[in-house]
Amino acid sequence: MKITFDWLKDHLNINLKEEKLLDQLTNIGLEVESLGNLSSGNELFKVAKIIKIEKHPNADRLKVCDVNIGEKELKKVVCGANNAREGLLTVYAPPGAIIPKNKTKLVVAKIRGVTSYGMLCSESELNLSDESDGIIELLKSKYEKNIGKSYFSKSNSNLIDLSITPNRPDCLGLRGIARDLAASGFGKLKDLKEKKYKSNSKQTIKIKINKEKNQGCTIFGSCLISNVKNSESPKWLKDKLVSIGEKPISAIVDITNYIMFDINRPLHAYDADKIQKGIVVRNSKSGEEFTALDNKNYKLDNGMCVISDNKGILGLGGIIGGTRSGTELNTKNVLLEAAYFEPRSIRDTAKKLNIDTDAKFRFERGIDPSSIEAGLNKAASLIKEICGGEISKIDIQKINNFKKKTIKFDPFSFERVTGFKISTKEMLKILEDLGFKIKKDKKFLNLTIPSWRPDISQEVDIVEELVRISGYEKINIINPIKERTKSTLTQSQKLFHFLQRAIASKGYLEAITWSFTDSNYNNHFKDKNKEIKIVNPISSELGVLRNSIFSNLIMYMSKNLDRGFKDLSIFEIGPIFKGSNPGEQSTVVCGLSAGKKNRLSWIDKERDIDVFDVKRDVIQTLVEAGYNSDKFFIDSETPNYFHPGKSGRLFLNRGKDLVAAYFGEIHPNILKNIDIKTDTLVGFEIFLDNLKLPKKTLNDQKTNFVVSDYQKSERDFAFIVNKNITSQDLINAISSVGQNLISNIKVFDVYEGSNIPENQKSIAISVTIQSFEKTLNDNDLEKINKLIIQTVEDKTGAKIRS
């Protein structure tokens, strides 16, 4: 909502400064969004007279004018307007002036070889009207004495742009803003006693509101003004509209706009001669069409509120008029409409047709149903004053009586909500200033809500009004008590935290990427999930919810590699989606590493980063998070975005859990497909929601501290096994020997090749044997050795290598 202090003064007796106004507006909830000066630079535009005209030597259509701008010397200006002639009074813009229409700054320029100092302006160039045919022609009688003076009258009033919240339709008019200001002690609201015009003639166009289900119009007021002469608006009206950045069009349109901005009463003016046999306000039928004033053709659904006549639709009530019945400069008879349209109906229709207009914006927020007569009265009087003609009586049709709402207000509720007190006297003053009618009823106040405040319906709304006007700065600070009755984080939140920082501590940079992604990337990683489309994505590259974090990470990894970095590790912890219902999502830690270990090192051998690097990161993280790696179980069943031979799936506990993590090389086909510039890319996913949270805290889980001080012995074994036997199988077999004697098992060599039969491999394992009861003698050790060999051979088909 754009306003000026000058316009506010139409409604407010005030002698304070504009600075104070800005603060006060913000203090009462009418936020000042920006402050501009429309008229800055306007003083440069001067009234000027063309003294002499010559033909441009190099262009048939151009003229070279000598212009008197009130200085000693005449200015030479090149001009192309047909109406430029000697003796004409017009508006001159010097070099340095900014043309309001296209915001370009004038410079001294050579036009076809002739230097032009400035420009003569059309109305359209000054945003005064759409008239672009020729330069402005000023009345001699009025402007002859003004040559050299500024064309625009001086305005000291800045353009103030307010951000009006959707609950305050009343403040979409200057009057409403003034009322709020006055209530807060900023000036005094002027009592505008509008003179009611008198008329004997009847409004002869028949108006009917159909009583239908969901009729969007409940009151339709009108009056007819006949024999008008529509014209340009007078200067005061043009200035007013221009001062808030609006463009004057014609007197009738300008007047309706002026009243809309002034008291938030939208009006519509019809060319009465174009209405066929009266107006019917009704619901539209599916398929009906009409052309609106925005020159677009709209096809309507059932049940939209339309203003129609015998021939069809004249306009969408409260949203936009039609071209067929619009007023023009030659309009003779005007029918003025002031109506009440239901916000819901307006909103539904505008949304379906995707129309946004000033009227729609106002009606959907709720227009004062009691402002119909005042609006018609003021508009008709102004039209008569400016355009002449005869005004009819006001005709009002309605299908519903507007009832004023009342509230029983307990003054104590104010303190209960705000924590501070104001006196009942103060309350009464504020509410009266805001337009409430008050009756005291013992300790309660019976309040009648002003018709322009559709936002107020319950006690707390009154509290809001009172605290808003008395000032939020009066609310006392009550300092919080440092007391905690419930732990801040749940166990799974703690786990989130822990994993996030554990992974980062392994050298990964945390990224945060969109929850949506490019379906082309997502397709590589969605595995068996279904694609979840966003109906209205911001771009096709962000068209689906991500089924995996990999899609975004790999895309950004690729971008970073393109920046010339080679060895990168990034990770993200966040949601992935399995369906479009709330809750069909899970939290994943996903990491990606590219490049080499020890690139260009003087000390260590260079090698590609590999599966066992990423496996270490996963296992170490899980162990740090408190999970027992002895129970981990790993197999090679992984989703298709991993290298099928170089990836693994990890369970915290064999056969008892959901997948805890995947790790491995990203499938080479994907690297090829997205053309990522790296030799190796390894990644992992840890599924937070699949990690069983221990029932006890980590502290409670700690068993007694038991260690053995008896001597331990290490024995090495080399087994030859079939290739499909995993080292995990051997380790499990050895640990199953148990008897509380096996304290550590370590694979230290894997060998395939000469001396080993085809399809077999040799795995060398070191086993640490230690008893809690005694020092084992040779005999004991020999027994265990045999048992280990026996068990491994039985369980895995291995043969001990001799």
Binding site: N27, I28, G29, E31, T165, P166, R347, E364, R416, T418, V460, D461, V463, E464, V467, R468, I475, N476, I477, I478, N479, P480, I481, K482, T488, L489, T490, Q493, Q500, R501, A502, A504, G507, Y508, L509, E510, A511, I512, S515, F516, I534, V535, N536, I538, Y556, K559, N560, R563, S569, I570, G574, P575, F577, S580, N581, G583, E584, N598, W602, I603
Partner: protein
């Protein structure tokens, strides 16, 4: 007697000279070997006249110790020399670079969330979460924003179905609804998380982060709200005093509603919070609307309280001098490295939020 002294002097002189290990060993056996000069003196003790025997023996022992010490010292000296020679040969250039290490970082938004959680933890808030995909009811209707409400226009919503029933939450406020539906008052929670609006330009990203706050109890009023936010802002920006302004505003789910500005000034191109006469809007808040409480079956006669919503990314930008919101989600390695935090920098109350 003179024999002993002679031996002593002779060998001490020898031991003072330059010797290698085998020469010392030779000396050692010459003195203390089976028939060594000193050993044979000991054998003599028995034959010394009785009244001199004691003196002789003690004398002999002193000399023996003296020589023995001299030998030990010499051996030590030589060994040290040898070790030092060896070490000298082993000397390397320690200015050569260490084995490479990779430093991971925590994203500034994550760090900020942890800071926020830490601050609110102190005053008794616990952390709640909700899903990113929400239904229309939780995101709007339950929050007193029915479908014909113009306030919905302010949220450019991403929808997941044509009927517009499922959407990406436009704010963290639906967590209020979920929390209150599943529990009984009092409620004292914060809910940080991802939020989405189909809005994308220099200062808007289609995804951003908010933290919701909700405190409902029997007598929580606007003074508590002011106190809570005043405390939070001071703690978060780690300043002793702040300038804070409550400004009336409107949100369908709170009444009265306020927007909160903090005072700042720009000094040497840096933003300084808590001073100056410029205002910066940082959050929206208000008293939870009775309609919202009714929607979640909380009796608004018995219970009342406040809610607030803060843009996390915006706070992080202010605190850490980040200019470009879009960069948060651009994943530029250099940016993450520059603005990221060490994983060991866990914001805590006792160590301070930031280093």
């Amino acid at each position: 007697m003179s024999d002993l002294k002679k031996i002593k002097d002779e060998f001490l002189t020898k031991l003072n000279g330059k010797l290698n290990l085998s020469e010392i060993n030779e000396i050692k056996s010459n003195l203390f070997g089976k028939n060594g000069l000193i050993s044979s003196q000991f054998k003599k003790i028995g034959s010394v006249v009785e009244n001199e025997r004691k003196k002789f023996a003690s004398n002999l022992n002193v000399i023996k110790d003296e020589l023995q010490n001299a030998i030990d010292n010499k051996i030590n000296e030589i060994q040290n020399l040898e070790i030092n020679e060896k070490l000298e040969k082993e000397k390397i250039d320690v200015t050569l670079p260490e084995r490479t290490f990779k430093r991971g970082k925590i994203h500034p938004v994550s760090q900020t969330i942890d800071e926020i959680s830490s601050i609110f933890s102190e005053i008794g808030f616990s952390v709640e979460e909700g899903p990113d995909v929400e239904n229309e009811y939780n995101n709007f209707t339950a929050l007193n924003t029915p479908d014909n409400h113009p306030a919905r226009d302010m949220h450019d919503t991403f929808y997941l179905d044509e009927k517009k029933e499922k959407l990406l939450r436009t704010h963290t406020s639906p967590v209020q609804i979920r929390t209150m539906l599943k529990g009984k008052p009092p409620f004292k929670i914060i809910a940080p998380g991802r939020t989405y609006r189909s809005d994308s330009d220099q200062t808007h990203a289609p995804m951003f982060h908010q933290v919701e706050g909700l405190h409902i109890d029997k007598d929580i009023n606007m003074g508590h709200l002011k106190g809570c936010l005043n405390y939070f802002i001071k703690e978060f920006f780690e300043v002793k005093k702040i300038k804070m302004r409550f400004r009336p505003s409107h949100f369908p789910f709170t009444e009265p509603s306020a927007e909160v500005d903090i005072g700042y000034e720009i000094k040497d191109g840096k933003i300084i919070i808590g001073e100056g006469d410029q205002w910066l809007e940082i959050l929206g808040c208000g008293m939870v609307h009775p309609n919202v409480l009714k929607n979640v079956k909380v009796d608004p006669i018995k219970f009342q309280g406040y809610a607030f919503g803060i843009g996390i990314d915006r706070l992080a930008m202010l605190k850490y001098g980040i200019n470009d919101l879009r960069a948060f989600f651009d994943c530029d390695y250099r940016w993450l490295n520059h603005f990221g935090f060490d994983p060991l920098d866990v914001p805590t109350n006792y160590r301070g939020l930031s280093r």
